[in-house]
């Protein structure tokens, strides 16, 4: 005589988790197992009463959006302040420097540095404020270094 399956296997049938045709055939044929199947299906139906149709309020999505995408760090403002302070200190340390800087215009190297600035601003939503400030400070330092190289190459000794 065919052996009756374990009730956990019959439960899997009731849950739609078992695809075993042999098992299903047995359950349909065997009075004991079909009784078990009915009993387990009823237990499933009782627990299905836990389902809910509750919905989140619309305000949830707005609040989540704000938390996931907070207002971007004011990187442009910080960049402007860092750059202005660096220039101001240079002007104060060497009054002719600013005039010279205006006279040479923006070179290719300085243009690259400015591009890097803009990229950094674009990424400011993805990285923390500390990284942005460090990046900006490094760019300012590089920019000033390059300007200084150009100035020396042009032989401005008295700046």
């Amino acid at each position: 005589m065919e052996r009756c399956p374990d009730q956990l296997n019959i439960q899997a049938l009731a849950d739609g988790e078992a695809q075993d045709q042999q098992l299903w055939n047995h359950v349909q044929r065997c009075p004991h197992c079909s009784d078990q199947y009915r009993r387990l299906s009823n237990l499933v139906k009782i627990a299905d009463g836990l389902k809910s149709d509750a919905k989140l309020p619309a305000s949830f999505y707005r609040s989540l959006e704000t938390k996931i995408n907070p207002a971007p760090f004011p990187a442009a403002l910080v960049a402007a302040v860092v750059f202005a302070l660096a220039l101001l200190s240079l002007v104060l340390l060497g009054p002719n420097y600013f005039e010279w800087w205006l006279s040479v215009g923006i070179t290719n190297q300085v243009g690259l540095i400015l591009d890097a600035f803009l990229d950094l601003l674009a990424y400011s939503r993805l990285v923390g404020p500390a990284w942005i400030i460090m990046g900006l400070a490094a760019l300012v330092a590089m920019e000033l270094f390059i300007l200084n190289l150009i100035r020396n190459a042009e032989g401005l000794k008295n700046v």
């Binding site: 956990l8 439960q11 139906k45 836990l50 809910s52 989140l56 999505y61 989540l64 938390k67």
Partner: protein, 158 residues
């Protein structure tokens, strides 16, 4: 990902906590955690079970911190498993009674029931979410359903 799964996660959290505000907070926390851990999400799989796993962990922690544990069911608490007309009668239970009955279950059974019936996870997904063997999931589901029924009968009979 949010629009498709948010209500389901909310319902799961609502069943765990039985508190709308807490459920909303836990749903939000689930999506924030998911967003922070997007790198660990396997995009070849549906997001629902992954989100349910995060939500279940958060809800479990919440319950641990905010609720006393319900009394433990023992073997004697589970009524005989004969089939009978009472199942048909029990299917008409009110939601309030069912939730009261659920509250009385030990958490290990409650969460398997919730992941299955509210989160709509498969056996496999429940096993993965709770880091359990499949046989344990089947067993807890079976025993959990029996306990739920017993608990419901207990509530009905006062």
């Amino acid at each position: 990902m949010v629009e498709t799964n948010a209500d389901k996660i909310y319902r799961l959290a609502l069943r765990y906590t039985q508190d709308k505000n807490q459920a909303e907070d836990l749903t939000q926390e689930t999506f924030l955690r998911a967003y922070q851990n997007l790198a660990s999400y396997d995009r070849s799989k549906p997001a629902g079970p992954w989100l349910c796993t995060i939500a279940a962990n958060l809800c479990r922690n919440w319950l641990r911190d905010n609720r006393e544990l319900p009394f433990d069911f023992t073997e004697e608490n589970i009524l005989p498993t004969n089939s009978g007309p009472e199942e048909l009668y029990l299917q008409q239970e009110s939601e309030t009674e069912l939730l009261q009955a659920l509250e009385k279950l030990p958490l290990i059974y409650r969460e398997v029931l919730l992941l299955r019936h509210v989160g709509e996870l498969s056996y496999d997904e429940i096993a993965e979410a709770l880091n359990l063997e499949m046989s344990i999931v089947k067993n807890r589901l079976y025993r959990g359903r029996l306990m739920l029924k017993s608990s419901l009968i207990g509530i009905r009979e006062g």
